[in-house]
Symmetry: C2
Subunit: 203 residues, 2 copies
């Protein structure tokens, strides 16, 4: 495994647990088993390393989302549309290894802070978001387009928190619900969100 990948993997885990400022380059290179100076040599400043961590999986995720979105019938159903957007993330989180779990926790923090909205959310995720909105306009042609943007926003909020698996719901439900049972949650999330979109389309 290359030095670059070792650094990216270590940075991903640590950034996911403690955030950008909660982790030092020393912790990252130490966890990766490489020298401190190599982080700067391969990635430049710390902020560029952070962006590289996020970009690596965003590219793969977006490619799959775009493929699924393009394969939908026209007009698509809302359920199909939401599934095309959410399924790649769910599958990778369940079966892609620990790196994807870290990435999910990282994205939840990024999506909920102003700090990385421009550099990460707009740069890396807006093209897919626009493809989703375009599909939603076909699925619900009678809807006010603004309501579809808001629906998308509510969906992203519910999804990022779900994939982050903070464990809060496990304690709150006294073990009846499990954050880690993503496939079970997924079966509930899709209809929940689709019903919300449909209700907004009627308004």
């Amino acid at each position: 495994m290359s030095t670059k990948d070792r650094i990216l993997d270590a940075a991903e885990t640590l950034f996911a647990d403690a955030g950008y400022d909660g982790v030092s380059l020393r912790q990252i290179t130490s966890a990766a088993g490489v020298e401190l100076a190599l982080a700067n040599y391969h990635f430049g400043p710390k902020s560029d390393l952070f962006l590289a961590v996020v970009q690596r999986r965003a590219d793969e995720l977006n490619r799959e989302r775009m493929t699924l979105l393009a394969a939908l019938p026209d007009p698509p159903t809302m359920e199909g549309l939401i599934d095309a957007f959410a399924r790649p993330f769910m599958e990778k989180s369940l079966r892609g290894g620990a790196g994807w779990k870290s990435y999910a926790r990282l994205i939840a923090q990024i999506a909920n802070s102003q700090r990385w909205t421009q550099a990460v959310m707009h740069t890396q995720f807006d093209p897919v978001a626009e493809a989703f909105i375009k599909g939603a306009k076909r699925a619900l042609p009678e809807a006010d387009p603004r309501n579809l943007y808001w629906g998308f926003h509510f969906m992203v909020g519910a999804m990022t928190m779900t994939f982050a698996e903070t464990g809060r719901i496990d304690v709150l439900s006294r073990g009846k619900c499990k954050s880690g049972a993503l496939d079970k949650i997924y079966q509930r999330m899709i209809p929940f969100l689709a019903a919300g979109f449909r209700r907004l389309a009627e308004a």
Copy 2:
């Protein structure tokens, strides 16, 4: 204004913008216009200051939420229940001053990270969450209780991201939607979420 309050206000704004580790005690006391040593004198270690910042408004918020929840008819409607939970936050964010906007950005980060789940979410917000779930069981008695926990989870994800006002939706919608127009968004969020809950109850 007391030294303690000056420190709390400055810390709130800075923590909301950059997170716990992104802000130093020097930045906080400097913004508050007091000496560095006073942060430790009044609040103890940095982590205790952070918890004090969150607790201050959580107490006020929870009191109002509990009052509204207790005033609902039995059985309540899902719309009424969600409104009782969300309205105090929305009103304060719209009319409570800049401190409540900072607090909303802070809560969005906390709710989406594992790091503060125990010390903040469970400690400060679980009692109200349980009151909400109890009401949801009355509103939708035919629902599997687990689905109500998941609905609550999706609701919190959508709500925290909405109140955080990251501005992403403004750019994505090319100005058609505005993060800051919380009252308009609120009218869409309540039916979106209520329809989601109802759909889960049918499953």
